[in-house]
């Protein structure tokens, strides 16, 4: 499970029947300084996320358990919106909702 920022969406009209109705978003994983780390990934969305949201992503087999059909070929799902991130690093703390920030530049 990781922190990430929603940086886009992916539209795929032709898909497996078990994936009908699921929304695909492009997520960039972040480290504790909110710097990108690792490769971007495509994740399903279980909590109505939007562009710029700071989110909590569950990966692996467990990611499908948040979806309507738990037996689908998905390896990442957004399971929470991050409102507070208190940390011991040098960067700013996050308190209060950081949602729908199109620039992705909020703290």
């Amino acid at each position: 499970m990781h922190l990430g920022r929603v940086i886009g969406r992916v539209v795929a009209t032709r898909r497996l029947p078990g994936l009908l109705g699921e929304k695909f978003l492009l997520v960039r994983p972040l480290d504790e300084q909110r710097e990108p780390c690792g490769e971007s990934l495509v994740a399903c969305d279980a909590v109505s996320s939007g562009l710029g949201d700071l989110v909590h992503v569950c990966d692996g087999r467990e990611s499908t358990l948040a979806l309507h059909d738990p037996f689908v070929p998905i390896d990442a799902t957004i399971v929470g919106h991050v409102e507070e991130f208190e940390h011991d690093g040098p960067g700013p703390q996050i308190r209060g909702a950081v949602t729908h920030d199109p620039a992705g530049a909020a703290p």
């Binding site: 467990e62 929470g80 208190e86 940390h87």
Partner: protein, 98 residues
Amino acid sequence: MKIGRVVGTVVTPVQHPAYDGRRLLAVRPLNPDGSEAADRMFVAVDRAQAGIGDRVLLMAEGSSVRAIVGDEKAPIRCAVVGVIDEIAMDGKVVYPPA
């Protein structure tokens, strides 16, 4: 299981119902000697009352974690399962630092 350091706490008011009432920690994976491992930062459910700065045991394998949290259908993959008091390597104590 991995060794890690708790670097922060995460609050997600809008979340999957399986996370209701569970405390989330941000954990940076470490090598046994305390240097940062190549893994990216994890978000984990707290099962050991850990706090920021604690050296912890991180379980990052789904089915064991689902057994720990008592919900086989929960989309939860990572949990902090212990707070580390001491790490010894090659006969020398590497944590806590002397």
